[in-house]
């Protein structure tokens, strides 16, 4: 790191920052695009189909269809960028970025590995160093911004189906946000802080000390709400092929569409990173008290990918809820449950347990 910094005539801190940003964002981008393929192959396997397996590099190297990513990307890139009549042009262009950027930004505070010391410097493996004063509040706030991506896309398309999808999705996101935040608050309480590094350190390396075990209810609530937040089935009200054509992205095509699709997957990655950090001990390796840096990164990655897979898995298990059922679940089940969770933990803490 020091040699790299001196080569670039910058301070090690700055060089490290740049390296981190590049690594994290390219990794999330890559994972998100790989996950589009995982989703398609996984859903195919779940439904006893085969899925995209024929795309090949140079027509020869088939690598179980992974070239599909490239093919899709290239296809979207070279497609005509249609802009329907009477769209609100500026918002129409802005919406994919509004969807994509918050999805990526949420990742910034999440530690993806152990800190390490080299040459007298402490290097933190998260884009924003711990102690930045925002902590876990930041991804929550940024996650709330994701509503704008969907809603702006829906509004600017000047399409009735799109706006219906957008309205439904934003209603879902807003109503599940409260339950989700309350579930997180009880973690803040038991940890005594809201910095992700603190939360991870408090969970330790024993799997039964991770937050899932003492706060199982909180986990269920949070995980359910995250599905609504990321607009995934069973709560993907932004879409709905059978009801409202394609939903909020009806009018989108080419690269803008692919950006919207990618935003969903980036969101999924961020959401599973949140779940891992809050409830599954982040980069902690089970039963290893002081893991090496590489091991901790690997552990984080494995957990992250597992939860990303659970997103896919649940999507192909459950049918879409009806709108009123979802509202019912959000307000009458998730919110009270997370409140109960909060009160119970507050009571337990007040009795010194």
């Amino acid at each position: 790191m020091d040699t790299l910094a001196s080569l670039l005539h910058t301070s090690p801190a700055l060089a490290w920052m740049v390296v981190k940003v590049v690594i994290v964002f390219s990794a999330v981008m890559l994972l998100a695009s790989v996950w589009t393929w995982v989703e398609r192959r996984g859903s195919a396997m779940i439904q006893d189909r085969i899925g995209p397996n024929r795309a090949a590099l140079f027509g020869r190297i088939r690598i179980i269809g992974l070239a599909q990513l490239l093919a899709d990307g290239i296809k979207f890139f070279f497609k005509e960028d249609l802009e329907p009549h009477d769209v609100n042009k500026r918002l129409f262009w802005l919406a994919p970025f509004l969807a994509f950027v918050p999805a990526m930004l949420g990742f910034a505070v999440i530690p993806f590995g152990r800190d390490f010391v080299s040459g007298g410097h402490v290097y933190h493996l998260s884009v924003l160093d711990p102690g930045n004063g925002m902590g876990m509040l930041y991804p929550m706030a940024i996650g709330g911004l994701a509503v704008y991506g969907v809603l702006v896309a829906a509004w600017s398309s000047n399409n009735k189906w799109a706006i219906l999808g957008g309205m439904r999705a934003s209603a879902a996101m807003v109503s599940y946000e409260i339950g989700m935040s309350l579930a997180v608050v009880s973690i803040f309480m038991t940890t005594g802080g809201y910095d992700p590094a603190q939360i991870i350190a408090a969970q330790g390396s024993q799997p039964w000390h991770w937050n899932v075990v003492p706060q199982f209810l909180g986990f269920i609530v949070f995980f359910t709400c995250v599905f609504a937040e990321t607009n995934r089935l069973p709560f993907d009200f932004a879409e709905g092929e059978s009801e409202i054509v394609a939903g909020f992205n009806t009018e989108y095509g080419s690269m803008k569409f692919s950006l919207l699709a990618l935003a969903e997957y980036a969101h999924m990655m961020t959401a599973s990173a949140l779940v891992v950090t809050l409830f599954f001990g982040g980069w902690q390796v089970p039963f290893v008290a002081h893991p090496g840096v590489m091991l901790s990164v690997l552990s984080f990655l494995v957990k992250l990918l597992f939860f990303a897979w659970v997103f896919v898995w649940i999507r192909w298990t459950l049918p879409r809820f009806r709108y009123d059922q979802m509202m019912h679940l959000g307000w009458k089940a998730m919110l009270p449950l997370s409140m109960v969770n909060l009160v119970v933990h507050a009571w337990l803490m007040s009795h010194g347990r």
Binding site: M45, I46, D48, R49, I50, W313, T317, L318
Partner: protein, 187 residues
Amino acid sequence: MGVVVKKVELGWLDRTYVWPVLKGMGITFNHFIKQLFTPTSKRYTIQYPDMKKEMPTGYRGLHELKRFEDGAIKCVACFMCAEACPARCISIEAEEFSDLNFTQGFEEKRPKVFKIDMLRCIYCGMCEEACPKDAIWLRNDYEVAAYDRLSMQFGKWDLMNTYAEADGKARISEDPTPSVPRRVLAM
């Protein structure tokens, strides 16, 4: 008539919604694992250009005009198939041939032109049913496609050779006996 709909009573475990979800996830995971470890040849999906479906006997695919061992066509140009064809896609022109016509005094008939318009054919198998000589069969080849309309007009020799390779027979392109011009004999 009214139908009494029985409402399913859910137990408390089912009403939590968490347990049924887990059960469902178990089912999907089973399918996932099963499909993942099934070899490609045993999956439900047939990977078409690489693998082909075995057609059952009695499948009505591409036609074949049958031939005798010496390569003579079995068809006697009786026009029954053309008559029976609901799509009206068979057109036949007859001709006469015989080795015997001078010794025994009669000719036999065979098609000079036997054309099936595969674009109009509906593969109903009526021609096969109608044929008194079992000369036309619909067999199991379903890959009938071409780049232009003209190559979908299957002629006599195309139809005689459609299954030549599959049956290990030689391709033929001419009749073993020449046709004779219509006899104009002064009786």
